[in-house]
């Protein structure tokens, strides 16, 4: 099985599994307990908090709160900020956010909030002047992602944060889920920052939220005094330990160059070999995650390519989600003005630390044949002939 879907989730690293294992067997206890077992658990959590803080560059471990997932972190950051600023009813976000932010903001629109949706250009990049113009005295929050989950396009969060703080009193939340573990993180000018464990080889079911000192956040879960009273619920110690180990691994390994080399090879070859392939997102690779390539195969269907690759043992994602209830192409690609016939044929390749050169070569040997077969079946035969 060749796994090229690391933006969806990643396998648990053996190092992470080893770190977690004792906490799923003989080492147990409630970290809130005062006895030896409880204190041991608390120490393990503190160690992990330290690892997370170090990886993303938080100045103090108290700024890190553990949650159950990235979506919880995003939801809490947004609702938490709004909860402490009830008089401010304006939010600024972008059209290309993950559903955790996008759908929540859509919901808030129904609850009396006004949302300014910033668009992107064909490269997937923001117009910072548009952002500056959107800020108002009653803007409570600006929320943008750091790295786009579909295209890997990076937003300049330091610059955005500077503009937000210079021109308004709004808090700045960053959805960093897709970036952590893949690129170095800089929290300058950032007030809140969400991350998720399973994107960096920790298990699913663990996330964290960075809350800059001085930012007040109303709690989402009320209960015992866990996480400094900010997020109640008995700590998921094994998962927290896993996230800590994953953060250490991400910091200490130097695999990023290896992943980027493989991604570049894959991307270059596909664009060269396939006449109907076009890259979605900035051609300048420094403006994208080093592991992601979103490529449209024009006039063929992405889900078809996915199924054929799956049969060949290769796992990828498509931007043209077609479920039995909803049939629509990716909002991100639509915001980028990708033509309909190309958005339908988009495939996301997202690499990870366990991919090998041989796997990339296998993919490159299988993919052109699949695309050619589907192109031969396409009703857009005249358009495809014109490309050649």
């Amino acid at each position: 099985m060749i796994y090229l879907d690391n933006n969806a989730t990643t396998r648990v690293a053996p190092e992470v599994f080893d770190a977690m294992h004792p906490f799923l067997s003989d080492v147990f206890g409630n970290p809130s307990s005062a006895h030896t077992l409880g204190r041991e658990m608390k120490r393990a959590i503190d160690d992990s908090r330290e690892q997370v803080a170090t990886l993303i560059g938080a100045s103090d471990t108290s700024e890190i709160v553990f949650t159950s997932c990235g979506s919880e972190s995003d939801n809490w950051a947004i609702r938490g900020v709004l909860g402490t600023r009830p008089e401010k009813k304006h939010i600024v976000t972008t059209l290309v956010e993950h559903e955790a932010v996008r759908n929540l903001c859509r919901l808030l629109e129904n609850d009396g909030y006004e949302v300014t949706w910033l668009g992107v250009d064909h490269n997937g990049e923001l117009d910072l002047d548009e952002l500056r113009a959107a800020l108002r005295p009653d803007t409570a929050l600006v929320s943008t992602m750091l790295a786009n989950n579909e295209t890997g396009v990076l937003f300049p969060i330091q610059e955005i944060g500077r503009i937000v703080h210079e021109n308004s009193e709004a808090a700045f939340h960053v959805d960093g889920v897709q970036a952590v573990g893949k690129i170095p993180i800089n929290l300058e000018n950032v007030d809140l920052f969400a991350l998720s464990g399973h994107k960096l080889h920790a298990p699913q079911g663990i996330g964290a939220l960075y809350v800059r000192k001085g930012i007040s956040l109303s709690p989402m879960i009320i209960g015992g005094g866990q996480e400094q009273g900010r997020r109640a619920g008995t700590s998921a110690v094994p998962n927290i330990v896993g996230l800590g180990a994953a953060c250490r691994l991400a910091r200490e390994d130097d695999d990023h160059a290896h992943i980027e080399r493989l991604r570049n090879r894959l991307e270059d070859e596909i664009l060269k070999q396939t006449p109907n392939a076009r890259l979605n997102g900035a051609a300048d690779r420094s403006k994208r995650l080093p592991n992601t390539s979103n490529i449209s195969f024009e006039y063929v269907d992405g889900q078809n390519i996915l199924m054929h690759l799956d049969q060949a043992g290769i796992c990828v994602s498509t931007g043209s989600a077609c479920h039995s209830t909803t049939h629509e192409s990716s909002p991100t690609l639509r915001a980028m003005n990708v033509p309909y016939t190309a958005a339908q044929g988009s495939i996301r390749f997202s690499l990870g630390r366990y991919n090998t050169e041989a796997e990339i070569e296998t993919t490159l040997s299988v993919l052109p044949e699949i695309v050619a077969k589907l192109a031969a079946m396409s009703p857009y035969d005249k358009e495809l002939a014109a490309l050649k």
């Binding site: 269907d301 078809n304 016939t341 396409s378 009703p379």
Partner: protein, 196 residues
């Protein structure tokens, strides 16, 4: 799954798996891909909702039976399977039978099956319109699926006092196939709508 057979047949327990296997096979190994040989009649259908697009082309023999059916599709795996299955099902059928085919046994999304059938229907209408124009008989041919002439339709309208296309269809079959003559039947109804 519309199929209902006696529950004592042990194969029935596996029927959903069998139909799934069939449609999976038709997706990975689609039959009759491309364009039918000339002279061919072609139809298209597309969905704005999901972006899928199908093209169906058929060859029709002198007895108005489909002798060849081919398709092209840019759409999900269910659509490809549905179109492929349909090409196999319609060969040998008259255009009238093909126009009203119910695709029951395919375990595919009903929306995709419908889209494939619409493209087929569009191709049959393409044939019907051409056959009507080419018709060299004494009486003008209106319904090419069931070979019903203008005079027959007029006779039925006058004899029975028909006022709608549906009534004409149930009286003499005209308009019961591909539906390409509905507009013409409407016009005949209008000219025969005399005060009684």
């Amino acid at each position: 799954m519309q199929l209902r057979i006696l529950p004592c047949n042990p194969w029935l327990n596996f029927w959903p798996q069998i139909t799934r296997m069939m449609s999976t096979d038709h997706f990975f190994n689609p039959r009759n891909v491309g364009d039918a040989d000339e002279p061919r009649f072609a139809g298209r259908s597309a969905s704005l909702a999901c972006g899928a697009h199908v093209r169906f082309s058929i060859q029709v023999d002198e007895a108005h039976a489909i002798s060849q059916a081919r398709f092209r599709a840019a759409g999900c795996s269910d659509l490809v399977a549905a179109a492929s299955l349909l090409t196999e099902q319609v060969v040998g059928l008259t255009t009238a039978a093909a126009a009203t085919i119910e695709q029951e046994q395919a375990d595919v999304d009903p929306q995709c099956a419908r889209l494939a059938r619409e493209a087929l229907l569009d191709a049959i209408r393409d044939f019907s319109n051409a056959a009507r124009d080419d018709w060299a008989g004494d009486e003008a041919l209106i319904c090419t699926c069931f070979f019903v002439s203008e005079r027959t339709i007029e006779r039925e309208i006058q004899a029975r006092g028909l006022t709608t296309v549906a009534e004409v269809t149930s009286a003499c079959n005209a308009g019961g196939g591909c539906g390409s003559c509905h507009q013409l039947i409407q016009e005949i109804l209008a000219t025969n709508d005399l005060p009684r």
